[in-house]
């Protein structure tokens, strides 16, 4: 499989008046895992949001599974098969845990079923009738990740999924991502936690000032460690 799942060209993006992305280019083939690395405020989350059309204005080209989406409304982009896990988690207070989990509509077949998900995150099973925002910080993080696994989306945009999770869970998430990848999912990962990302990704993009300033292939990690260190302060 070498179809392109996501192709971003000359992407620019704005929040109101502030111009955040200044021409971002990258592409992800089917079944690849890539990460976006960078300092706080570099614009990584903004890249994910812009792909889904969640910023106030955008320019350039974004092809999702071969379809140009720059002019589409958010919900139609999502229906092309994108699953999004936002950094602020976005758990709904007025829905209970299970309703939160069942909320995102299926966009295609082949999603995990609920049993499988509960098995993966036993905490959620235990708290399934509790209002979504009454979960602990980490549980909410799990829920945000879990709910998109159900939808059958093949392109996952994951923003800081390890944030605030216990080391065991982080480890488990690493296994999940590997598993997903083996199943043929395409994943764009925004990570602060470099060690977590390093082992998983085919390729790393370093974002700075709203542009991609460096690409590091998995095989080049050792060689470019110094360079990465300079960008990220690892």
């Amino acid at each position: 499989m070498s179809n392109v799942a996501l192709e971003v060209k000359n992407l620019e993006s704005w929040y109101g008046e502030s111009h955040i992305l200044h021409g971002v280019n990258f592409s992800v083939r089917d079944g690849e895992v890539v990460t976006l690395l960078g300092r706080n405020g570099a614009g990584r989350s903004t890249i994910l949001k812009t792909i889904l059309g969640l910023t106030s204005k955008r320019k350039g080209s974004i092809e999702v599974f071969g379809k140009e989406t720059i002019a589409l409304p958010t919900y139609q982009i999502a229906r092309l098969g994108i699953g999004y896990c936002p950094e602020e988690r976005g758990i709904f207070a007025s829905l209970d845990t299970e309703e939160n989990l069942l909320l995102p509509p299926k966009v295609s077949s082949g999603g995990m079923d609920v049993e499988e998900i509960y098995e993966m995150f036993p905490n959620l099973y235990e708290r399934r009738n509790s209002p979504g925002t009454r979960l602990s910080g980490g549980e909410q993080q799990m829920l945000a990740m879990a709910r998109i696994l159900r939808t059958g989306a093949k392109l996952l945009l994951l923003d800081e999924i390890t944030e605030g999770l216990a080391p065991v869970i982080v480890q488990k998430l690493g296994e999940v991502v590997t598993k997903l990848r083996n199943k043929g999912f395409t994943i764009v990962l925004v990570e602060q936690n470099f060690r977590f990302a390093a082992g998983l990704a085919d390729r790393h993009y370093v974002v700075e000032g709203g542009q991609i300033v460096e690409v590091v292939q998995h095989s080049e990690l050792e060689a470019k460690a110094e360079l990465l260190n300079g960008y990220l302060g690892v």
Partner: protein, 253 residues
């Protein structure tokens, strides 16, 4: 002076039948950095909420310097010198950075209800506020609107504000969450620095931080204490490894 600054006896909290915290007996020693860790949903934040009375305990007692403070209101507890930070950043976004700190200092003046007094009477606090900002490295932003600060700086500001209260006991809930590596190191050093002369109780998932500054660690699991001890002791406890740290150990992170 008491050796033990904070003690909980049989502390418990349940939400509609779900027991989030059960029979927690915690002893925090004066002058230490005490870390509270545990898997997600173990009840750490709930514990903090109980200690600061943002939640009402269903059972148990809280002693601060030997006094029973179980029945006191949140503001009273704050006045006793227990100050917390929040898991989600808590600043006053439309005040300037300086004003943020000053609001905390202001309580010391005892003029908080003086609606007839000129605002310039607060200027006497500016020096102390700048000093605190200097301590967390935010001096140059003193007159900026807080809203526009980067995330890591907001966390630093929060610590400065908390320090302004001259707390005997600081409760920090995941102070480094969401920070880049640089910021994490920065804040870790900051905590270590301000810990001199006070006591800190903190929740943290970043093992690197814990390992480098915590004197004592309590591990919670499912609402009760699983293990307690130094980092060495805890991290070699197989129960803790299984429930929390995972096979890589905290080290991997």
């Amino acid at each position: 002076m008491q050796e033990i600054i904070l003690e909980t006896i049989g502390l418990g909290k349940s939400f509609k039948g779900f027991s989030a915290v059960t029979d927690v007996n915690l002893k925090v020693t004066r002058g230490t950095i005490h870390a509270l860790i545990g898997p997600n949903g173990a009840g750490k934040t709930t514990c903090f909420n109980l200690l600061t009375k943002f939640l009402e305990p269903t059972s148990g007692q809280i002693l601060f310097n030997g006094f029973d403070i179980t029945k006191e209101a949140p503001a009273e507890i704050a006045r006793r010198g227990i100050i917390r930070s929040f898991q989600i950043s808590a600043v006053f976004p439309h005040l300037t950075v300086l004003e943020n700190v000053r609001v905390a200092l202001q309580r010391g003046l005892g003029t908080e209800f003086f609606f007839w007094k000129s605002g310039s009477s607060l200027n006497v606090l500016n020096d102390r506020a700048l000093e605190l900002l200097h301590e967390v490295g935010l001096e140059e932003f003193a007159h900026k609107e807080t809203l526009n600060l980067a995330y890591g700086r907001k966390r630093a500001l929060e610590i400065a504000t908390t320090l302004a209260m001259e707390p005997e006991l600081m409760l920090l809930d995941e102070p480094t969450q969401g920070m880049g590596h640089e910021d994490v190191d920065h804040v870790t050093r900051l905590i270590d620095r301000v810990a001199k002369g006070r006591t800190i109780l903190m929740v943290e998932h970043n093992m690197k931080v814990i390992a480098s500054i915590a004197n004592k660690i309590t591990v919670l699991q499912r609402g009760s204490v699983l293990a307690e001890g130094s980092y060495q002791e805890v991290s070699s406890n197989p129960l803790v490894v299984e429930a929390y740290m995972g096979s890589h150990g905290g080290d991997a992170l």
